[in-house]
Symmetry: C2
Subunit: 492 residues, 2 copies
Amino acid sequence: MDTAEFRRRGKEMVDYVADYLENIEKRQVYPDVEPGYLRSLIPEEAPEQPETYEDVVKDIERVVMPGITHWHSPYFFAYFPTANSFPAILADMLSGAIGCVGFSWAASPACTELETVMLDWLGKMLNLPEEFLAGTKGKGGGVIQGTASEATLVALLAARCRMVKRILSDDPERPEADIISKLVAYSSDQAHSSVERAGLIGGVRMRKIPSDSKFSVRGEALRKVLEEDKAAGLIPFYFCATLGTTPSCAFDYITEIGPICNTEGIWMHIDAAYAGSAFICPEFRPLLDGVEFADSFNFNPHKWLLVNFDCSTMWVKNRTDIIAAFKMDPLYLKHDHQESGIHTLHTHTHTHTHSICHWQIPLGRRFRSLKIWFVFRMYGLRGLQDHIRKHVALAKEFEALVRVDERFQISAEVVLGLVCFRLKGSNDLNEALLKRINSARRIHLVPCQLSGRFVLRFAVCARTTESRHVQEAWAHITQLATELLRQVRDHP
Amino acid sequence: MDTAEFRRRGKEMVDYVADYLENIEKRQVYPDVEPGYLRSLIPEEAPEQPETYEDVVKDIERVVMPGITHWHSPYFFAYFPTANSFPAILADMLSGAIGCVGFSWAASPACTELETVMLDWLGKMLNLPEEFLAGTKGKGGGVIQGTASEATLVALLAARCRMVKRILSDDPERPEADIISKLVAYSSDQAHSSVERAGLIGGVRMRKIPSDSKFSVRGEALRKVLEEDKAAGLIPFYFCATLGTTPSCAFDYITEIGPICNTEGIWMHIDAAYAGSAFICPEFRPLLDGVEFADSFNFNPHKWLLVNFDCSTMWVKNRTDIIAAFKMDPLYLKHDHQESGIHTLHTHTHTHTHSICHWQIPLGRRFRSLKIWFVFRMYGLRGLQDHIRKHVALAKEFEALVRVDERFQISAEVVLGLVCFRLKGSNDLNEALLKRINSARRIHLVPCQLSGRFVLRFAVCARTTESRHVQEAWAHITQLATELLRQVRDHP
Ligand SMILES: Cc1ncc(COP(=O)(O)O)c(C=O)c1O
Ligand SMILES: Cc1ncc(COP(=O)(O)O)c(C=O)c1O
């Protein structure tokens, strides 16, 4: 494919993308295929000779689309949203063409620098404490991780490193393995599975703190567990607080937990993967109060801030904590910098110049900050706030519908764009309802478990979801519920 | 931006991308900017109100381009290549629009399934042993990681888990922390820094095996270290072999190392980040001989196989080893599957249906296999082989030029697309030459250190590099060398 053909095919693809997104609600939101459907649709081996672009494009509808769960359909209410916007798609095209690998400043200065500045922009939009911003001389700053899971892991590793060093400085003879074997990391029993996984990877104990009746961790609950663990000779070192839990969008009390962590020398990381985007609205910003006690904070603009996957933004108060945990072979870096004629860069005090590879698990990275830049400028803060507010209003609208139908109950407070609800009745009944909903394929939902109860989650996801989709979804759910309840009554 | 505007802007962006790539050689390959250049060029905060697309686009040339290192310029000979092709850019546009998050089969069946089949395609192109393929009932299979660093880490974690379990099954009373404190991971002293970092993250000892005079690890060198370590009570568990080292593209002797690892129960992972792409050519496939002894194998199509970043392909012989290392909260997964009505999927024997999130550090993932599919079909195996062969031929051409200039020497055998060379003379002299080369900004190179010597690396990188660029580069280098040598002679 030469440049001339790319011009033609690229424009066709733009139209295909526009058509897809414009007409997405006509597609069945959840696919019919059975596991293994795809293998038989395509050859067993790559072709020896090139195929034409027409051949390839035909297969998008034949092979791919039948197996797609349409996350951007306004009838998709499952999981949490994943972002999709035109400015982000355009920025990603540019990023693909530039195709730089930004593992160090010299590898593409704009890539490192735009990222640092964008994280400052976003930090200001969230009204983060100054300490988290890089500015021109701060100790803190932000970085784009691929996912919240990576941010949770990076923070845990930094915390592990900090605690090991602290103990070794008091007791240099103590074997590191002995220290690590005593470390304990904590999170809510409502925390995302990635927190447990971070503990597994980091080779440390994990303990879950029981949440209260509203699915939030309170300071008292943490304090109680800390006393037990310290009495048992363990070393608490990391607490991953959740703002906006995956099952029910509950919020840990970081104003209570934060001071405890600070007193105990425990690293407090905040995982606000979904909810974080809402904090750009002044009315939701109080949910982030207490962030001043945190060592690190992360959320996913790729969930709810219209920046396409992958873009998970993480800030730390003290960059050196992170860098220490990822220190690498100095030889490699020395060369890396020598080559650019900025040999002193490594110890440069300028915040822009830190090689970003010290902040993350992968070494290479795409030019992801372009997406943020395009989206923030094309929407403006006001446009982004409108997007959040619209989703929250739609969730409230759905909640109101549920509340007037006395066969149903709301299972958790509706704070943002997620409504947890269920039929009054058994778990089996609710599981049966969900099965009917998802089998009908008109809308798509996933469940969760809250206090042992099977609960349906209704998350407002697509950028284009409107009131009529929510109303239709509810009419559809109630119709299926009516059928189900009738059938249960007639054939108990 | 509505759909109509996206159609227009998208097409403009296609033209911008085409223009950029078509004229890239006219741009200065390495930027002039100083660290911190970007911050002052843009506002300190995100705009309150939306800006127009014109405003944003204007800033690409004003703000971004002055700070770009043009990795796809035919005058870029630094690091290793990073791939860029039109079919991959088109596939990425589609992937952005679909915007699914493929953490489980149900989250988008096509995303999981196409990936599994593409890894089989690619495995066959490499003539990997059958055991590494998923097929319809194999125990092995492939997955796309973001980067080679992640693959190295994932393999190390799986190896750690396997060894801990093995020892615990003999001696259930032994504390896990004691086992982990005795584990040792190995790699060549030429291995990439990401291997050391994987050890740091996994909390295990790392030991580097001395490479031979050709920068390769031989079986004997490994055996010697293993004897020492076992005598000291340590537990060898992981060897990361490199095929195509970063400094000089050297190859560890996996036919010697592999049997030792197998006998000792050590997990052998192969990192062929750059060189792996070449193994699709029969004449280079012997370099992969010995892969049959490996537990896992990884390389980066995003380096040299025309699939844009990020796409690092990893195969394992035994999927359950990987899954065990990443096992997560079963509740979450249960729901994940219940929702899709395929409750049994978790234990399903079909290979397609394994949730891919068990294979990687991040939970979410883009639809990356689309890029492989588009590229392999539009180039065909033949087209991809041509690309590799052209780069190798260009490297040989450069090598020949160096060899006839007796002021210079070749510092390592030229096997693929990398030439390591230097002026006969001191390290300072070579460092001065490199500084002149990079300051002149006509071409871009990075150095390495080989046996204590400062060496220049000439890597054929861009898809569009031709003989004339190589010839020009050499003429330019020799001219700078002549000037330098004259100056040194005149002002010693
Ligand atoms: C609270 C929370 N944390 C973490 C995650 C995982 O996010 P990622 O896919 O970015 O790792 C999620 C995903 O929904 C989440 O809700
Ligand atoms: C041998 C080797 N391994 C690993 C890497 C790192 O690759 P990635 O950026 O995909 O982690 C490189 C990069 O050049 C490499 O040469």
